[in-house]
């Protein structure tokens, strides 16, 4: 009997994922309403639950894909995978207005360059504090502070060792998760309540998953604006870090 249920759930992985995530969302919104009177947004709690599930999955399987490494929950991997995620992010642009996008043009681009540059510099400075002196390692770690894609892409391009690449991924992941958690907390202080600021925020932070989740937990209407600039950030990072920023690092160290 148990086996039959398990098989039924596993054979319909994506549908199982819809059901499980639906239940998680319900519990999260219930807790948001009853425990915090809506002050902590339900989606923020749901994302935290997601991260906790990922941790449980990782500890139990030793795998890299959180809860989706457990066979029963493999459909969550499909549901939260790149294809459906991008499809849904793009769909959120449906509510965006073009005039707002145009208005933010210049400051959005400024934010993009600033975001990549300062993240890289902070990554390098912290790596220096922890005793790294090799320009390849410094650049890779700096790239990780940009995003967990820029780190490994740059590291591979300039020939970094795999432990440094893993470290750069870890930094990028922590960045992404901190953005998810801290955005609703900082939102009021930085006036994150309009498309303009959302686009600047997306350009400064850059990590698409973090920005999109952070905005979802703050105000769903802002997601398209932040996500739009954030998706250009990784590209800019992949362009600048292994080239200009690596050369600069090599000259200085």
């Amino acid at each position: 009997m148990m086996n039959m249920i398990k098989e039924g759930l596993e054979n319909n992985g994506l549908i199982t994922a819809f059901a499980i995530i639906g239940i998680v969302m319900y519990i999260a919104y219930f807790l948001s309403d009853k425990l915090t009177k809506g002050r902590v947004h339900g989606s923020a709690i749901a994302i935290m639950f997601g991260l906790i599930l990922a941790y449980i999955g990782g500890v139990n399987t030793g795998g890299e894909k959180g809860i989706s490494d457990i066979q029963l929950f493999s459909g969550i991997g499909l549901m939260g995978g790149g294809m459906l995620r991008d499809f849904a992010i793009i769909a959120t642009a449906f509510g965006a207005s073009f005039s707002e996008v145009k208005k933010t043009g210049i400051s959005g681009i400024t934010a993009l360059f600033f975001g990549v540059f300062y993240s890289f510099v902070i990554g390098v400075v912290i790596a220096l504090c922890f005793g790294y002196r090799d320009p390849v390692a410094l650049t890779t770690i700096g790239g990780g502070a940009v995003t967990y894609i820029v780190g490994p892409v740059s590291g591979t391009a300039i020939g970094a060792s795999s432990d440094i690449i893993a470290l750069s991924i870890a930094i990028g992941l922590i960045k992404s998760i901190s953005v998810m958690i801290l955005t609703p907390i900082f939102a009021k202080k930085i006036k994150l309540n309009n498309p303009r600021t959302a686009m600047i925020y997306g350009g400064v932070m850059g990590t698409t998953s973090g920005v999109a989740a952070g905005l979802a937990a703050t105000d769903v209407k802002l997601v398209p604006y932040g996500a739009m600039t954030a998706t250009f950030y990784t590209g800019l990072g992949c362009l600048l870090v292994p080239s200009i920023l690596f050369l600069l690092t090599e000259i200085i160290f």
Binding site: A17, I21, M25, S43, A46, I47, G50, L51, A54, Y55, G57, V59, G66, G80, R85, D86, F87, A88, I89, I90, A91, A93, F94, A96, F98, V101, I106, S107, T110, F114, I122, I126, I169, A170, I171, L173, I174, K175, I177, S178, V179, M180, L182, I190, K191, R196, I200, V204, T208, S209, A212, A213, A216, P224, A227, M228, T229, T234, G235, C238
Partner: protein, 137 residues
């Protein structure tokens, strides 16, 4: 029909992703560069255009709105499959670097926001005083 909206969304995504891959190829990076951003811009433009021409039916809009609405659950599923263990195992340095970068980012946003606003005002001034409107993009 709902499928028209879904198809419009799909076409925008496919074009964006192909453009993003091509950009990545041009840059010599094995990544999609800004594909999602391009797709979003295309969708905004397409919806804008179709609405002006009165060619977008409510039913078609629902096909796009549904996927926008399912977005948060997808983000929850996405966070459930992050390598959280590795992120925490990466040691104190990863934690420090990741958090410091984000906090500094938040602190700098109000300043960048201000710089941008100034630029915007200047642009309007120029627009009013010197250049004919068509020349400003």
């Amino acid at each position: 029909m709902i499928i028209f909206g879904v198809a419009l969304l799909s076409i925008c995504m496919l074009i964006g992703v192909i453009v993003g891959d091509a950009l990545g190829g041009l840059m010599g990076v094995e990544a999609n560069v800004g594909g999602v951003g391009v797709s979003m811009l295309l969708l905004v433009l397409a919806v804008d255009y179709l609405k002006k021409k009165n060619k977008l039916q409510v039913k078609s809009e629902e096909g796009i709105a549904f996927w926008g609405g399912i977005y948060i659950p997808i983000v929850v599923a996405m966070s459930a499959q992050q390598n959280v263990v590795a992120a925490l195992d990466g040691g104190g340095m990863a934690l420090l670097a990741g958090v410091v970068v984000v906090v500094v980012g938040f602190l700098s946003i109000p300043f960048i926001s201000r710089i941008g606003e100034k630029a915007k005002v200047n642009e309007q001034e120029i627009e009013l005083s010197i250049l004919p409107k068509e020349q400003i993009k």
